[in-house]
Amino acid sequence: MNRQARALLSVLLIGVVVFLGWRSCNTRPDQDGATQIVINEASTRGGTLVSSLRSEPRTFNRIVLPSVPTDLYSILTGSKLIRVNRATQEAEPALVESWTISPDNKTYTLKLRDGLTWSDGVPFTSADVVFSFQAIYDPRTESPLDGVLRIGGKPFVVTAPDARTVVVSLPGTLGVGVAVLDNVTVAAKHKHEAALKAGKFKDELAVDTPPADLLSIGPFKLTSYSPGQRLVFDRNPRYWKKDAAGTQLPYLDQVILEIVPDQNAELVRLQSGQFDVLQQQIRPEDIATLRPVERQGKLKVIELGVAADADSFFFNLRSPYWAKDPRRDWITRKEFRQAISHAIDREAFANTVFLGAGVPIFGPVTPGNKQWFNPNVPRRGYSLDRAKEILAGLGLTNRDADEWLEDARGTEAHFILLAYRGNSSVERSAAVLRDELKKIGVKVDVVLLEQGALQQRIQKGDFESTVIVFNATNLDPAMNPDFWLSSGGAHFWNIGQAKPATDWEKEIDDLMGTVMTSVDPAERKRAFDQVQMVFAENLPVLYFVAPRLYMGVSTRVGGLSASILRPQLLWNIDQMTVKGSR
């Protein structure tokens, strides 16, 4: 060994010795013993829960912009008038202690709890509720909630006979009933009245508002926001809710939301115990990496059930788009879509796209939505022979001995499929569709687009077909009219029709009228079952597999109540507990 090598080895050896010494001096006491918590164990007061947030809040004003960070902020610092329990889907009292419904089902009389106060000590009264509705309906606010709180385009009339009573008069009957009030975010009149009068309510609660000026009527209040880093929430001592034993909620002292834009880094921090829970579900491909940590007892992978949202594949069904296209005779026909449904092996789809963590579906309502799922919809399952037979019926046969079908004019059976670049499951879905349809001689050209470009193409109707994911925000179909109604802004296959373009869309419109206005639950269910039947027959959107949802949670977390809607665990933050130090 020459002098150089000896010197290098000596330096390395000294380095190792110094490092080991430093580590032994800096090793913290073993924390594992303190973190053996059983999920859903009895409550413990105190402690800090750390979760992640993938994107930054753009505003704290949920009336102006419902989004994932703003919704989470609203859950932590706000309270609903009447809350829909995300686990049971039942409406339950919140700020409103009790309510009565008039015999004609058009007037709700709400009684607010006694002694409610904002975090600054000012009483919360019916005037705040009336003010919140005024803010939502003010056109200058441009609130997306405005559309949800109308019937036939007419707004609710909200009055306050006394400080604890609110009367909501509806222009018609409402199928969802008082649960519609789960959408209302309340705003403090004494804080924002001047802004609303000046037409500047939209700019209220901006992200640069000092935390001291942000009022809370929820379990926590924001105490610091470091842009790009984290939001820190401390317990709101004036929160109104108590548990069954009379203990003031929330149990936690503090909630920290760390902003981590990268999903891989987020997962690593969950594995290392720096996060107690993630903002949303883990990807199927990440489950295997969490299993070893689960075996060590530090983490629990919880299955929440089947997701309410699945990858959806649809064609552009606007007639003008195809008017001059040689494929017009068959590409928008329902039989063509039925053939595609038969051509997809949903089991293989689940294995490839969701690594086995998915269930075959045949319509937009998944088995995860137990209340509204119709198990009797026609299932056009895997059968290549049936698919080929249907295509032959459309005149699509192999006429030139290549691998693709052609119609009578010689036009090849092909189409372009647009998909969102960057979403691994959507990209895999597109690839599976291309490969599966190749087996029946239908050629698919997959084009991956950036999200903004894809959305613009869909909104403008400038696409042949696409595969995207609709994020479910509510399980009651009456709360998603934009998807079902032919006039809806989320009726993506033929958006915003002045009048229904087809008979079956008119039939769905009529049935949805019942779902949205009937107050008889059985009648609503019957009508929506029929909606699903019509949908499954005409297949404007094809569904193949709904993923199973998994969450990774630290074993120090208790008081969990899981939902398949986002945020799957944090929706019930005032009941959550932690034990032991991190």
């Binding site: 020459n2 150089q4 090598a5 290098l8 580590r23 750390v50 994107s55 930054e56 753009r58 505003t59 056109p139 441009e142 997306p144 405005d146 559309g147 700019d203 901006a206 992200v207 640069d208 610091s224 470091s226 842009p227 790009g228 880093q229 984290r230 820190v232 920290i256 760390e258 902003i259 981590v260 834009p261 990268d262 891989n264 880094a265 690593v268 921090r269 594995q271 290392s272 720096q274 950036e450 999200q451 903004g452 470009a453 894809l454 959305q455 613009q456 193409r457 909104q459 934009d482 809806g488 802004g489 989320a490 915003g496």
Partner: protein, 321 residues
């Protein structure tokens, strides 16, 4: 020298203007704008109203001219995404990026240059090992490097996995805050510094090897100057020219923020801001971030030119130009 500086300053302003204008115009013309995201699930009328209130219904020329009017007053407009002035957002994030950039630059210099001098002037197994490691450092993409470091930090617990400070940082004393920051900086700084150090090592190695073969180095050795002194005092200054040229680009790249490293390590810097702005098509924020990046690039190249002039007499006299 005065005229040279004026010329370079003029070039810097031109670069900032061209880059930010191009960024704004390109963001404006690509399919999908900020309104596309706002209009999801909304009726046509509501969408139209929102687009009008955001100014997205205006022509590209009108939008550009009004933005330009603001830029002349150093006002880069208001971010559509955050509803805050672009200047304020960039100010916050640029400082964070600067902290990271300075540490990464110092680390890369302290690692890369000495190793480059060593490998350029020595032979043996140690040299081969260093060269192999630097080749890996140059080849590994920043995403993989960052993730590997994050994984290492998570597994060992030696360093915080991400973020710039710990929670509760606002209540800390200055000294405690600085200590907290010092614990968070190494991981993202290393992720940035390793490929740069590797690049510097390779460049320095070649440059000093070449300079060592120059007659004046041999002459100094013939005069009895010892080998180390001859290398450091005679060969090294001459070998610095390509290194300093690279520094200009490195400073520009570092100070305009690396979005990959900042996203993976959750560092709230300019790169991440630019990334978020691009995703949301926040054209004013994109233009502001691009202008900042161009400014740092111009400043970096100016600084490296000045350093070059300082270290290489041929530049001052114009021989090397």
């Amino acid at each position: 020298m005065g005229r040279y500086l004026l010329r370079r300053l003029g070039f810097a302003f031109l670069l900032v203007f061209v880059v930010s204008s191009a960024a704004l115009l390109l963001t404006r013309i690509v399919p999908g704008d900020f309104g596309t995201f706002q209009c999801q699930d909304l009726t046509f009328e509501k969408c139209k109203a929102i687009r009008a209130s955001l100014g997205l219904d205006r022509s590209i020329l009108s939008q550009y001219l009004s933005w330009l009017g603001g830029v002349i007053r150093f006002d880069f407009g208001r971010s559509l995404l955050y509803s805050r002035p672009v200047n304020a957002l960039i100010g916050e994030r640029a400082l964070n990026t600067a902290v990271l950039a300075v540490v990464a630059l110092i680390a890369a210099t302290l690692i890369g240059i000495p190793l480059g001098i060593y490998t350029g002037t020595r032979r043996g197994i140690v040299r081969s090992i260093v060269r192999a490691i630097s080749l890996i450092g140059v080849s590994v993409p920043p995403l993989i490097g960052s993730l590997a470091l994050v994984f290492l930090a998570a597994r060992t617990g030696w360093l915080p996995v991400g973020g710039m400070t710990s929670s509760g940082g606002l209540e800390l004393t200055w000294a405690a805050w600085f200590a907290d920051l010092a614990r968070h900086v190494p991981l993202p700084a290393l992720a940035l510094a390793i490929p740069m150090a590797a690049t510097l090592e390779r460049l320095q190695s070649e440059a000093i090897a070449s300079a060592s073969r120059e007659p004046f180095v041999a002459a100094s050795r013939a005069r009895g100057v010892d080998r180390s002194r001859s290398i450091l005092h005679h060969a090294w200054p001459v070998s610095l020219r390509p290194i300093l040229g690279l520094y200009g680009v490195m400073i520009g790249a570092l100070f305009s923020g690396s979005f990959v490293v900042e996203v993976v390590t959750s560092w709230p810097g300019l790169g991440r801001l630019m990334f978020d702005a691009l995703k949301a098509r926040d054209l004013f924020l994109v233009a502001g971030c691009a202008a900042t990046g161009a400014f740092f690039l111009a400043a970096g190249t100016l600084l490296s030119d000045l350093l070059l002039a300082y270290t290489d007499p041929r530049v001052k006299s114009g021989e090397g130009a």
